[in-house]
Amino acid sequence: MAKIGLIFNGVWSHYAMATAPKYRDLYELLYVHDLTAAAVADLDALAIPFQSNQAVLTEKKDIIYDFLAAGKKVFLEGDSSTAWLDAQWEDRPVNNYWWVTDPTKPPVSDTNYDHPVYQGLTPRQACWHTHGVYTRVPEAAEILQTNAGGDVITWQTQQYGGTLLATTLDPIVEHGVQQITHLDNYVDRLTEWLSGVRPTPDRMTIDAAAYGEGALV
């Protein structure tokens, strides 16, 4: 039975990750336009991927905050909007090539490896690229990752009841894209932190039957 609701904007990378055999029993796609409080009631966690529809999330923000108030977990990646989140996300150029051009200057310079999502990760597994930064986070937030300029990349807070973990990394989207091959390490830890279940350690595969006429939508 699925434990994590992945708020779904109809994007193929979200779909590829959530329907992959190693994750599909743990994640349930929740189409953002059909999102209701009843749809999330039995879940342990929500994941809001990069390339989400911020306007619709704003309309439905009460569902997210009520979920947190029930003591549950929410993971947010990529960009966000101040219309529903008390934090300032700002866009920055994406650097996919730092490991080729200057491996000594990764987009994240400081990581708290004590956090369960980051425990045991190498620096390369803990950051591939970032989509912007947070220039303001909630006052009580704990900072987990920063860049060399001191901007916040990853933070979490318990001030809403449960735990909200936000990052400008994009593990769900990039794992769906499958052009970065080490992301099982991050996403498996994230999945375990969200659901209490560690996925099988093998590399993510694709089930072709879930595409086309067999699409699970």
Binding site: G10, H33, N96, Y97, Q178, I206, A208, A215, V217
Partner: protein
């Protein structure tokens, strides 16, 4: 001037990649719960990278009718639902991205003109950065680019409907100007298709 409807599922910054110009005027259609756009005023439907293919499946009959009127579709995204007439995108991660190279196929309209394939093959020396998965192309459709394993990556389909479709296996395209610089391959491929639509006096079925 072509009238294009750009489908948007609210992605941050999307409008920066499709800028109205002397050939195309873009109108953005924001997807809502009751998504059911009127396609009749438009010549071209653009479904960009990162689109909502749950929403597109809801209007698949309307898209088919639009194309059967001789109009055009660009979908440069992973169309995982079955809404594109005659063609289907599939995700696949069984091949090494390190080995991906793009090979040109027949190109009777010259859509690959002025395109440096090495821009698609490599970015900062890395290969496998552009497309993902592949397209099961309609029989008779033109495979403009295939990958190392002869799988269709860019397809021009003039046979499945009365109109034209330019499809990429999730590889983004764009309609932007880089202030006097030469168009990148992603822009040149898109604009070659726009040029075909703008200048063609021959219907898709010849």
């Amino acid at each position: 001037m072509l009238q294009a409807l750009l489908i948007s599922n609210g992605l941050q910054g999307l409008e920066k990649y499709y800028v109205s110009n002397e050939l195309v005027r873009y109108t953005i259609c924001l997807i809502t719960k009751d998504f059911n756009p009127d396609l009749t005023p438009y010549d071209l439907l653009v479904v960009p990278n990162g689109s909502d293919h749950v929403a597109m499946l809801k209007i698949k009959d309307k898209v088919r009718a639009f194309l059967d009127e001789g109009k055009a579709l660009v979908c440069c995204d992973g169309f995982f639902t079955a809404w594109v007439p005659g063609n289907q995108w599939l995700m696949d991660n069984s091949r090494r991205t390190l080995d991906v190279r793009y090979l040109p196929g027949p190109d009777r309209h010259g859509l690959l003109q002025n395109i440096d394939l090495d821009q698609l093959n490599f970015s900062h020396g890395m290969s496998g950065w552009w497309s993902c998965g592949y397209i099961q192309a309609a029989p008779g459709a033109e495979v403009l680019l295939a990958d190392t394993w002869q799988r269709a990556i860019v397809v021009l389909d003039e046979v499945s409907t009365n109109g034209r479709m330019l499809l990429t296996a999730s590889g983004p395209l764009a309609d932007v100007t880089y202030s006097g610089k030469a168009d990148s391959a992603l822009v040149a491929l898109y604009r070659n298709f726009i040029h075909l639509l703008s200048t063609s006096t021959v219907p898709a079925h010849g």
